[in-house]
C-alpha cells in the first residue's frame, strides 16, 4: 500500500449549542475521534446521512476549521503545527469543491477571473501566461475557452460545476475534497461530471476525498469507503468489500434503503437519527439497531479489523447480509444501446 497523502489521527471537533438568548446549553460532538488514511492517488468516500459529521470532517481535514484535538498529517507533516504563512503556502496542494455551484462562484467575477485567482494567489504562472493557462484549464474540464469572458449566471448548474472544478485544478493540487460535488445536478448532467472527475483523477494522479450521501456515485468512483454515524466512523474498507459484505448493521440498513434494487420492501430502519447533543451511550446506533444487546449501551465498540474495519460488538456473529441482487434490468440489449451514448462521437459516423 502506498504511503498516505493524508492521514487523520483521532480528530475531534465540538460546536457549542446555545439557547434562544445565547446561553451555552452543551456541545455537539460533530466529529468524535476519527482516524483515516487516504493513500496517494486513491479515492476515499465518506458517506452518511445529514448531521453525521461528514462535511465537518472534510473541512477539518483541510484545517478550514480548527479541530479541538487530533492530528492532520499531509505528506507526513501535521497541518496543525504549521504557521499561518506555511499553511497558506500548503493550501495550493489541497482544494475543496462544494455542492452548490450557484453559491460557490462569485457572481461579480468572470469565469476567467475566477479561474485565474488561484493562479495569481499561488504564483503558478507569470501574468503574461494567465489567459493561456485559463484556456487550458477550461478545455481540461470540457468547456470552450471562448466562454472565459462570460459571467457565472450565464451558465447551467453542470457548467458551473465544471468551472468550479477548473478553479480547483488551477493551483495544481495533490488533494481535492469534493463535498457532494454532483448532488445538486440532474442525473444526465451528473453522469457527465462524474465521468469528468474520474478522468481527472486518473490522468492527473489526484487523491480525492468524496463526501456524499449518494451510494450509487460512491460505489462508482471510490476505492475505499468510510461510513459515519453521529460523528464516528462505524465502518471502513475497500468499496467492493463494504458494499458486498457490510459488517456494521447501520451500513447494511443504509444499503438496503437505496431504492431500485428489486428486493421489494427492505427491512426499514425505524425512527430518525438521535439528537447529536445527547447521543446514546455506548454504541450510538444501538437505539435503531435490530441486533442491539445490553453491552451495546455500556461499551462503545472499537473500530476493529485490519483492512475492513467495523465498530460493532457483534460484527462476527451477525446473520449474513442479504446479497445485493444483481439486477440486470434491460440486460445485454440495454448495454449495447447505451454503448452508443458512451462513445457516440465515433458512432455518429457509423449510424449515419
Amino acid at each position: 500500500m502506498t504511503a498516505p497523502l493524508l492521514e487523520l489521527r483521532d480528530l475531534a471537533k465540538g460546536f457549542p449549542v446555545r439557547d434562544a438568548i445565547g446561553r451555552r446549553r452543551g456541545a455537539v460532538r460533530a466529529v468524535d475521534g476519527v482516524s483515516l488514511a487516504v493513500p496517494k492517488g486513491s479515492v476515499l468516500a465518506i458517506v452518511g446521512e445529514s448531521g453525521c459529521g461528514k462535511s465537518t470532517l472534510g473541512r477539518l481535514a483541510l484545517r478550514l476549521i480548527e479541530p479541538d484535538s487530533g492530528q492532520i498529517l499531509f505528506e507526513g507533516e501535521d497541518l496543525r503545527t504549521l504557521s499561518p504563512a506555511a499553511l497558506r503556502a500548503r493550501r495550493r496542494d489541497m482544494q475543496l469543491i462544494f455542492q452548490d455551484p450557484f453559491a460557490s462562484l462569485d457572481p461579480r467575477m468572470t469565469v476567467e477571473q475566477a479561474v485565474a485567482e488561484p493562479l495569481r494567489l499561488h504564483r503558478i504562472v507569470p501574468r503574461a501566461q494567465e489567459t493561456q493557462r485559463v484556456a487550458e484549464l477550461l478545455s481540461r474540464v470540457g468547456l470552450r475557452p471562448e466562454l472565459a469572458r462570460r459571467w457565472p449566471h450565464e451558465f447551467s448548474g453542470g457548467q458551473r460545476q465544471r468551472i468550479a472544478i477548473a478553479r480547483a485544478l488551477a493551483s495544481q493540487p495533490k488533494l481535492i475534497i469534493g463535498d457532494e460535488p454532483v448532488s445538486a445536478l440532474d442525473v444526465s448532467v451528473q453522469a457527465q461530471v462524474v465521468n469528468l472527475l474520474q478522468d481527472l483523477i486518473r490522468e492527473l494522479g489526484l487523491t480525492f476525498v468524496l463526501i456524499s450521501h449518494d451510494l450509487g456515485v460512491v460505489r462508482h468512483i471510490a476505492d475505499r469507503v468510510a461510513v459515519m454515524y453521529l460523528g464516528r466512523i462505524v465502518e471502513e474498507g475497500a468499496t467492493d468489500a463494504v458494499f458486498r459484505t457490510p459488517r456494521h448493521p447501520y451500513t447494511r440498513a443504509l444499503l438496503a434503503a437505496v431504492p431500485g434494487q428489486g428486493q421489494g420492501p427492505a427491512a426499514l430502519l425505524e425512527g430518525d437519527i438521535p439528537s447529536p447533543i445527547k447521543p446514546p451511550s455506548g454504541c450510538r446506533f444501538r437505539t435503531r439497531c435490530p441486533h442491539a444487546q445490553a453491552i451495546c449501551a455500556e461499551i462503545p465498540p472499537p473500530l476493529a479489523g485490519a483492512v475492513h474495519r467495523a465498530a460493532c460488538h457483534f460484527q462476527d456473529s451477525l446473520p449474513a447480509a442479504p446479497a445485493a441482487r444483481e439486477t440486470d434490468a434491460g440486460g445485454e440489449r440495454l448495454r449495447r444501446l447505451q454503448a452508443y451514448f458512451t462513445d457516440q462521437k465515433q458512432r455518429t459516423g457509423e449510424l449515419a
Partner: protein, 328 residues
Amino acid sequence: MSPPMLELTQVSVEFPTDRGRLRPVDGISFRVEAGKTLAVVGESGCGKSVTALAVMGLLPQGAEIGGGIRLDGEELLALTPDQRRARRGGAMAMVFQEPMTSLNPAFTAGEQVAEALRLHQGLAPDAAFARAVEMFARVRIPEPERRARNYPHQLSGGMRQRVMIAMALACRPRLLIADEPTTALDVTVQAQILALIDELKTESGTAVVLITHDLGVVADHADEVVVMYAGRVAERAPAASLFARPQHPYTIGLLGAAPRLEGGVARLASIEGTVPDLLHPPPGCRFAPRCPFALDRCAQQPPLAAILPGHDVACWRAPLDTLLEAAA
C-alpha cells in the same frame, strides 16, 4: 380496464414572458387508475411539476391551460375557482418536496391538519384535532399526542413530511400528487415515507401521481411510468415494461446515467449537451440535438405510438432493436 381516476388529455400550459411565450407543458396525456401509482420522470425543466400544478389548479395567474383534466369523470378545467378550491385538499391533495415551506410556522402541526378536516369534512374543532392525532399515529409519528402540539421547527425533516402526508390523506383524497416527496430526505427516511404512501394507497384506493427524478424509486413504487422531456411525453409504459425494454433514447440514456449500487460499470452513459431552451425549442423531436440515434426525419415531431401493448414511445427509430440487429 377500470375507468381512470385521473385522465389528462393533450394538456398544455403556456406562460407569457418578457422574452416570448413559454410552453413548459406541450400536449401531455396520461391516465391513472384508483389504487395505482403513476410515476412522472424527467429532469429539471421537463414540465413535470408544472403538470402537477395544472392538475391541482395551483398555476400562477396568467398561465393558460389547454386540453382536458378529468378527475373521476369530472372535467376540472370547466369548474369555477371556488369549485376547484373545494376539490383541493378534499378530493385531491398534494405533497411537496420541501415540507418546511409548506407548513405554517405559526401554528402547531396538529392544528394545521385539523384545519383541513374542519374545512373539508365539517368537523368541530375538538373532533378535528382528535382526528389529526389519529392521523399522526397512522403515519407512524411517535408520541402523536405530543407531536401534534409541536410547531414545525420542532420536528425533523422526516417528521414534517409525515405531517404533510397526514394532512394530505386526512380527507381520504381520491388523488394524491407527491412532487419529489423524499428528495430532501435521507435515504433511510425516504424508504419509510415511500412505504407509507404505498400502504395508504392500497388501503384507501387513492390514485397516486409520484413525480421523481429517481429511477430507483420508480422501479420500486410505480405501476405506470411517464418519461417527460422538454414538456412532452417521450415514453409511457407499465413500469416493468419500461425497465425491461426501454425504447426511447432519452430513457436509455437516463437508465445508463444513474450509477448502480452493484457496481461493475466502468463509465456512465452520459447524455451529452443540455436540455433545450423552451423559448426556442428545436423543431421536431426535442431530444434530437442530444440523441446519438438522430436522423434527418427527427426534424419532424414523432407521434407517441404503441410499440408493445400499453407501451408508447415518441421516436422515429423505435423499436431500437432493429437498429441493434443492423449494427450486429
